[in-house]
Each structure stands twice: as C-alpha cells, then as structure tokens.
C-alpha cells in the first residue's frame, strides 16, 4: 500500500488587487463570420448560438444567409422552420433507440419531430429563431442576405426581416469580413 500524504488547506492564498481580466482591447480586432446555409429548424440553431456567444464576448459578428438558410430571414417563412427525421440516423426519441428510417417519411412525422424539438428548445429557455435573431441584432450582430439566393428565389428586401442590412454578393461578404474567423453551417 502506498503511503499517501494528506495536506489540508488551512491557509488561504492572498491575492491583493485580483480583478478579472476582461481584456476588451484584445477582442477589439476580432471578427467572426457565420454562413448560414440550412433552413431546417435543427440546423438554424448552431449558427445562432455561436453568434450570440461571440457577441457576448465582445466579438464583431456577421451572419450571411444563403440558399436554404434564407428561410431564417424571410418574414413569411421564418416562423415555420421544420425538423425532419428523414435521413437523420442520430434521432433518439426514447433512450438510445433509433426510429426505423422506413417510418420517418410517414405523414405527421415531421410535424411531430418539429413539435418535440421546439418544446425541448423552449424548455431550455432558448428563444425561437425570429426572436433569437432579434436578440443577436440587439447585441450588435449584423445580418446579411445572399444576392444569388435572393435572385433565384425572386425575393427582395421587402420579403426579408427589416434588420437585414443588405442583399450582397459573396464577394461583398468576403470583403466585409476581412480577417474574420469563418464558420460554414
């Protein structure tokens, strides 16, 4: 048996003048750019959560909505994002059990899965997508829409959330986010 030396912490460590280093200056030049290309409910959230966290750390944050991601900022669609179990082998409604893939396209399955996911997200106190984007804009986040997607879908600025700052080309976005850390979702 190995002898074990037990030390008791009877002393406290004096740390005069200890103040958290919020390091605002170090973040001053930091930027993050998030490309949101998916319009499924489950794939809308990762970009929003990262954006919200980045803003809370004082990081300049830009979101670029493209292709299916457009549904997150189109006024007539943004309240109705859906989550489908079709092709998703990682969905486990009960314990570790899988849903047989042959059942996933049945009528009502997407509505049920969407309802369940929305409830789980709400239970965590996380807002729905439009309200989450409100919060991101309030925190100083910038929303941009993809020119090519808008042209393909025949949408204009009046179809989009009012706080989308512009419909811009991919080249514009790259220029705008010079030096940013980039995340494609």
């Amino acid at each position: 048996m190995t002898a074990r030396k037990v030390t008791t912490m009877t002393t406290t460590e004096a740390r005069p003048g200890l103040v958290p280093n919020f390091d605002d200056e170090a973040e001053a030049g930091r930027k993050i750019a998030i490309i949101c290309s998916k319009g499924n409910l489950d794939m809308a959230y990762p970009g929003l959560i990262i954006a919200n966290s980045a803003l809370g750390e004082g990081v300049e944050t830009h979101l670029f909505f493209t292709f299916w991601g457009f549904d997150m900022i189109v006024k007539s669609r943004m309240n109705d994002l859906q989550f489908s179990p079709v092709g998703n082998t990682a969905m486990h409604p009960i314990g570790d059990a899988h849903i047989p893939q042959a059942l996933t396209p049945l009528p009502g399955m997407t509505a049920m899965a969407t309802h369940m996911l929305k409830k789980q997200i709400a239970d965590l106190g996380v807002p729905e997508v439009p309200e989450f984007l409100d919060q991101i804009v309030a925190a100083g986040g910038h929303l941009w829409a993809c020119r090519m997607s808008a042209d393909m879908m025949k949408l204009t600025e009046s179809d989009l959330r009012d706080d989308v700052e512009g419909i811009i080309s991919a080249a514009d976005f790259i220029e705008l986010t010079n030096g940013a850390q980039l995340l494609f979702i």
Partner: protein, 104 residues
C-alpha cells in the same frame, strides 16, 4: 481559495477574481467592483444587479443576458450599453456572482 482585499474587506474569490461567497457581497462592495472595471453604477445598473442577486437565490445559478431580458425585463441592447462588450461576465462580477454557465 484565493482571498483578495476590496475596500478594506477580505473576500473570497476564484482564480479570475469573481467573488465565490454570496454573502460577502454588499452594495458598497458592488461600487468598488464596478470601479475596478471602469463602470460607474446608475439606477439602470442597479436594476440589473438586484435582479441577478435575487434570481441567483431562486435558481442557484447566474442569469444569462437572455434571462436578464426575458425575466428581469432589461433588454439585451440596454445590457450591452450598461456593461459594454461582455455584459454577461461584467454584470456577474459586479453582482458578486459566478460567471453565467448557460449558452443562451
């Protein structure tokens, strides 16, 4: 556990300097904590701080910016104006609470 001295009082803090003992905080100390990070407290700041303190006793964890808006009634935009750049951490520090752990 580190101990630091603020305004003549010895208080327990974590390695970053956030207070670890809820009852070692009082409103005079909050003014010192705020001054440490360059913030002068106004009534608007106090509304946030009092909500955070009360919510912590109820929930056992520090409210996130989202919760300060949804439950505390202080909009996120205002939180960023009051506690610039990193409102979640700065509010917690001045309120003598741990950093918020929630993602949203």
């Amino acid at each position: 556990m580190p101990v630091t001295t603020l305004d003549g009082h010895a208080v327990h803090v974590d390695d970053e300097g956030f207070l670890t003992e809820y009852h070692e905080w009082d409103e005079d100390l909050a003014k010192v904590l705020a001054a440490n990070i360059g913030i002068e407290l106004t009534d608007a700041h106090w509304k946030v701080l009092r909500f955070l303190r009360a919510d912590f006793t109820a929930k056992g964890e520090t409210a996130t910016t989202r919760r300060v808006q949804a439950v505390g009634g202080v909009p996120v935009k205002e939180q960023f104006a009051l506690f610039p750049k990193k409102p979640g951490k700065k509010m917690a520090y001045i309120a003598g609470l741990p950093k918020p752990h929630g993602c949203v």
